[in-house]
C-alpha cells in the first residue's frame, strides 16, 4: 500500500482508533497518566453548536446516523441467504460516537452477569460463557466513571443492584410523568422500581451546569453541551492534558504488523484523501464491536491471513446486539412522554436476574420510555390505518397520553452469528463493508415475550386504558448496542482477548469497546464499556511502568 506524500507523523505511545465512549475514556486515563496518545476518528469532530432540535435532520436524514449510501452494512439471517444492504445497528460515526445521540441510561451490570454460565450451565445452540473478570474487578471503575462522567441516580434504589462502594455524584433527574406512572404500576404489583441512572446532571457538578431537559434528547445531539457524553467530558479532559492528539476525519484502513508480529501502525486515509502511517507502541481499538471486528478482518498479513489476531477464527463471531421493544399504553390523563425526550425515566430490575422457573435463561432491564422521538414522524401505533382521518385521530389521542414500557433482550451469543467482510459491497472509501449474519436464538424470543408481557402488566397496573404488546420476532440491531466480536477469556482457543482485553496473539493490541463482552447481559452496556476501558487503560499505564510494554519515551523494556 502506498503511504503518505505527507511527512510521517511521530510515533505515539498509544494510538487509539475511535473517539467514542470507550476510546475517549481510555484516552482520558492514559493522557492523565502522562501517556502520549494519538486518536484516529473516522468521523468529524463536531462542536456542540452543530447540534439541534430537529427530528427530520437527526433521525430521518442521517445528520447523526451513518448515511447508508456512504457507510452501508449488509445483513442476512443465515449463510444460505443473499445479504441485503441495511443500516444494521448504526451508531453515530463522529467524535463522541454513540454518546452523541443517546439519552444515556447507565445501570451497572450485576454480579451474576459475569458468571451466567456458572449459574445456568450450557445452553444448547449458544456459546454462553462466564466473563474472565468479576463484578468486583469492575466495581471501582464503575465508581470512577459515574463520578467523572457525571451520572444522576439514587444508590440503593435498585433492590437488585450489586454492592457499590460509592453513591452517585448527583441525585436522580426530576421525575417525569411517565416515570411516575411506571413507579405506580410497579408499586401496585409489588415490584421494585428506581429512578433510571442517567448520563445527565440533575444539579451543577464538577464545574458543569445542570443538564437542559429538552424534548429533543434521545437520538438528538446536545446543543447545550450539558449532557454527560464523551464529547462533553472525556474528550475535553484528555485535550486538557496536552497529550491527546485527536485527529478527526481519519479513517483507519488497516493495522500493520512489524517483523516480530506486533502491531506496528495504523494506516489511515486523512481528510485530504492522503494515506498516512501512524506508528505506536500500543494500539487500542475502540470503534464499536462491528467496526473493530471489521478493522481486524481488514488487516490481513502473512502471519494473520484471516485477519489480525484471528488465528482462532473467532473475530466477529458471537456477536450480540440486544433488541429493543416495548409494550405501549394509553392513559386518560396527560403523560407528556415527549418531555425530557421520553427517556428521563424510571426502571426496574425485577425481571433482570435469571430464574429457572421462567423456562428461559436470564432477563432484562425494563424502563419507562416515550413513544415518539419526540414527534409522531417516526412512530406508528398498533392497529388502525397508517393514513387518513383515523390515523390523524390516533396521533392526536396518543401524543400526550401514551408511553412505552421498554426492555432490551439479553440475546444469547451464538458461534454462527457473526460479523465478516462483505465480498461485494464496498463503502464510499472503497473498503468492504461489515456483513452481519444472525438469527435469534429461541431463548431470545422467549425472554422477549416474557418481558413484554410483564411490561404490559406494569402499564395495566398503572391504569392504562389500552395496552399493546410489541413482541420481538427477529434481531434487527435497533438499539445501537453491539458486543462480543472479540470476546475476552482465559483460553486462547475460545476467546480473542485475555482478561486485560489484550489480544492473545498480538501483545500490544487491545480492544476496549463492547467487543470484549462474552455476553450482552440485559442492561444498557455503555457504563460497563467505559468502566472496562478505564480498567484496561489503567493496566496499560501500569504495564508501561512495569516495563512489559515498550514505550516511545524510552521507559524500561
Amino acid at each position: 500500500m502506498a503511504v503518505a506524500r505527507k511527512i510521517k507523523p511521530e510515533k505515539a505511545d498509544v494510538c487509539i482508533i475511535g473517539a467514542g465512549a470507550s476510546g475517549a475514556a481510555a484516552a482520558k486515563v492514559l493522557t492523565e497518566s502522562g501517556v502520549r496518545v494519538v486518536a484516529l476518528e473516522r468521523g468529524p469532530w463536531r462542536k456542540r453548536e452543530s447540534f439541534g432540535g430537529d427530528e427530520l435532520a437527526n433521525v430521518n436524514r442521517y445528520n447523526l446516523w451513518p448515511d447508508p449510501l456512504l457507510n452501508p452494512r449488509t445483513f442476512r439471517t443465515s449463510e444460505d441467504e443473499e445479504p441485503q444492504v441495511e443500516l444494521f445497528c448504526p451508531v453515530p460515526q463522529m467524535v463522541g460516537g454513540g454518546t452523541i445521540h443517546w439519552q444515556g441510561w447507565l445501570p451497572r451490570f450485576t454480579e451474576n452477569d459475569f458468571r451466567l454460565h456458572t449459574i445456568v450451565g450450557d445452553v444448547p445452540g449458544t456459546t454462553l460463557a462466564d466473563w474472565p473478570i468479576s463484578y468486583d474487578d469492575l466495581e471501582p471503575y464503575y465508581g470512577k466513571v459515574e463520578w467523572t462522567f457525571g451520572v444522576s441516580g439514587r444508590a440503593g434504589a435498585n433492590a437488585f443492584e450489586s454492592p457499590r462502594s460509592r453513591g452517585y455524584p448527583c441525585p436522580p433527574m426530576p421525575m417525569s410523568r411517565y416515570a411516575q406512572k411506571f413507579h405506580e404500576g410497579c408499586g401496585n404489583l409489588g415490584y421494585n422500581s428506581f429512578p433510571t441512572p442517567q448520563a445527565a446532571l440533575s444539579r451543577p457538578f464538577n464545574g458543569r451546569p445542570a443538564t437542559v431537559v429538552s424534548a429533543f434528547a434521545q437520538q438528538h445531539g446536545d446543543p447545550s453541551g450539558t449532557r454527560s457524553s464523551a464529547l462533553n467530558v472525556f474528550v475535553p479532559d484528555a485535550v486538557a492534558t496536552g497529550r491527546y492528539d485527536l485527529r478527526p476525519d481519519c479513517y483507519v484502513r488497516e493495522i500493520s504488523l512489524d517483523e516480530r508480529g506486533r502491531a506496528k501502525s495504523a494506516v489511515y486515509e486523512d481528510a485530504d484523501g492522503d494515506l498516512v502511517e501512524q506508528e505506536a507502541d500500543v494500539i487500542i481499538l475502540a470503534c464499536g464491536a462491528v467496526e473493530s471486528a471489521r478493522l481486524l478482518l481488514l488487516s490481513r498479513s502473512g502471519r494473520f491471513p484471516n485477519g489480525l489476531a484471528n488465528g482462532s477464527d473467532l473475530v466477529g463471531r458471537n456477536v450480540t446486539f440486544h433488541e429493543y421493544s416495548a409494550a405501549v399504553g394509553v392513559f386518560e390523563d396527560l403523560i407528556y412522554a415527549w418531555a425530557g425526550g421520553g427517556y428521563v425515566s424510571a426502571s426496574s430490575f425485577q425481571f433482570y436476574e435469571h430464574d429457572d422457573d421462567r423456562g428461559h435463561v436470564s432477563g432484562g432491564h425494563t424502563a419507562a420510555a416515550g413513544v415518539g422521538i419526540p414527534l409522531p414522524i417516526n412512530w406508528s401505533l398498533p392497529e388502525g390505518p397508517a393514513w387518513g382521518a383515523e390515523a390523524k385521530q390516533t396521533d392526536r389521542d396518543f401524543f400526550n397520553h401514551s408511553m412505552a414500557v421498554a426492555m432490551v433482550v439479553h440475546d444469547m451469543p451464538q458461534h454462527d452469528n457473526r460479523v465478516e467482510l462483505d465480498d461485494r459491497v464496498k463503502d464510499a472509501w472503497g473498503l468492504p463493508v461489515a456483513r452481519i449474519t444472525l438469527s435469534p436464538h429461541e431463548n431470545d424470543l422467549a425472554q422477549g415475550r416474557f418481558l413484554i408481557d410483564r411490561n404490559a402488566e406494569i402499564l395495566e397496573a398503572a391504569g392504562a386504558k389500552k395496552v399493546d404488546k410489541v413482541y420481538i420476532d427477529r434481531i434487527t440491531g435497533n438499539c445501537s448496542h453491539q458486543h462480543g466480536t472479540t470476546r475476552m477469556g482465559d483460553n486462547p482457543e475460545t476467546s480473542v482477548l485475555n482478561r486485560d482485553c489484550q489480544a492473545h496473539e498480538v501483545e500490544n493490541l487491545f480492544v476496549v469497546d463492547g467487543s470484549p463482552f462474552p455476553t450482552s447481559t440485559g442492561a444498557n452496556p455503555t457504563l460497563t464499556i467505559m468502566a472496562n476501558a478505564w480498567r484496561v487503560a489503567e493496566n496499560i499505564v501500569w504495564r508501561r511502568g512495569a516495563g512489559t510494554v515498550t514505550t516511545a519515551t524510552g521507559k524500561e523494556e
Binding site: 439541534g52 446516523w65 393514513w387
Partner: protein, 225 residues
C-alpha cells in the same frame, strides 16, 4: 428534470399538475377535520422543496438558514434526491393512470372518496404482492414505537414515501416549509419551541411537563414480591 423558480425565490421541483396531485393526495393522508390538515400545513411545499436539490436538506441548528453540503455527503444526497424525484414523477403518473381507469379523470379532479379509493388501491397491492415490500412497510409504519430510522426512504415505494413525507411535512420544524404556523404541533398538543434557535440556545425546557412531585418515591424492596 423540470425546475422552476418559486415566488419566494426557492428552486422548486414540481410542475403545477404534479404539485396539485401531490397536494390532493397528502390532503387525504392527513385530512382536514375540525383542525387543519396537510393542506393547511403546506406539506406539498415541504416535499417540493426537498426535491428541489440539496440546498434544503439540513437546517442550520440555530435556524439561521440551511447547511451547504460538500464532498461525499453532497454526492450521496444528490444521488438520493434523484431517486426520490423519479419515484414522485412515476408515482404521480400512476395515480393519474389509476384514476382515469376507475373514474375517468386525473387524480386531483376526483372527489375525496374517489381519491381515497385510488390511494388505498395504490397502497394495498404492494403490501400483498411482495413480502419484502411488506417488510419495508413494517419498517416504517409498524406496530411499534419509534426506535431508530433503519428504513431508508430510497427503498420505499411511492405510497409509503408519500405518507412518510406527509408526516414529516406536518410535524417537522416549520423551517423546512411545512407545519405552517405550527399547525401540526397544535393538532397533537405539542408546545414545541418557538424556533430551532430556542432549542439551540438551551432555552427550551420541558420541565413544566414533568410530574408535579419532582422527587422519585422511595420504593419498597421488591425482592420476593
Amino acid at each position: 428534470m423540470n425546475q422552476r423558480e418559486g415566488t419566494d425565490g426557492d428552486r422548486l421541483f414540481f410542475d403545477e399538475h404534479q404539485r396539485a396531485t401531490v397536494e390532493a393526495a397528502m390532503a387525504r393522508i392527513i385530512p382536514t377535520d375540525h383542525e387543519p390538515g396537510a393542506r393547511e400545513a403546506g406539506t406539498v411545499g415541504f416535499v417540493d422543496r426537498y426535491l428541489s436539490g440539496i440546498d434544503f436538506i439540513y437546517a442550520k441548528p440555530d435556524g439561521s438558514g440551511f447547511e451547504k453540503l460538500e464532498g461525499r455527503r453532497a454526492d450521496a444526497w444528490r444521488q438520493r434526491v434523484d431517486v426520490l424525484r423519479e419515484k414522485y414523477v412515476e408515482g404521480i403518473e400512476e395515480l393519474d393512470r389509476r384514476s382515469r381507469v376507475q373514474f375517468d379523470a386525473d387524480f386531483a379532479r376526483l372527489t375525496a372518496e374517489q381519491q381515497d379509493r385510488v390511494l388505498a388501491d395504490t397502497e394495498r397491492p404492494e403490501r400483498q404482492a411482495d413480502p419484502e415490500q411488506a417488510q419495508a412497510t413494517a419498517a416504517w409504519a409498524p406496530v411499534e414505537p419509534a426506535l431508530q430510522q433503519t428504513s431508508t426512504e430510497v427503498e420505499l415505494d411511492f405510497f409509503l414515501l408519500l405518507a412518510l413525507h406527509t408526516r414529516q411535512g406536518f410535524y417537522a420544524d416549520p423551517i423546512y416549509g411545512g407545519n405552517k404556523d405550527r399547525v401540526g404541533w397544535e393538532v397533537i398538543g405539542f408546545p414545541g419551541p418557538a424556533s430551532l434557535a430556542e432549542v439551540h440556545s438551551g432555552r427550551f425546557s420541558t420541565l413544566d411537563y414533568f410530574a408535579e412531585i419532582r422527587e422519585h418515591p422511595e420504593m419498597e424492596d421488591g425482592r420476593g414480591a
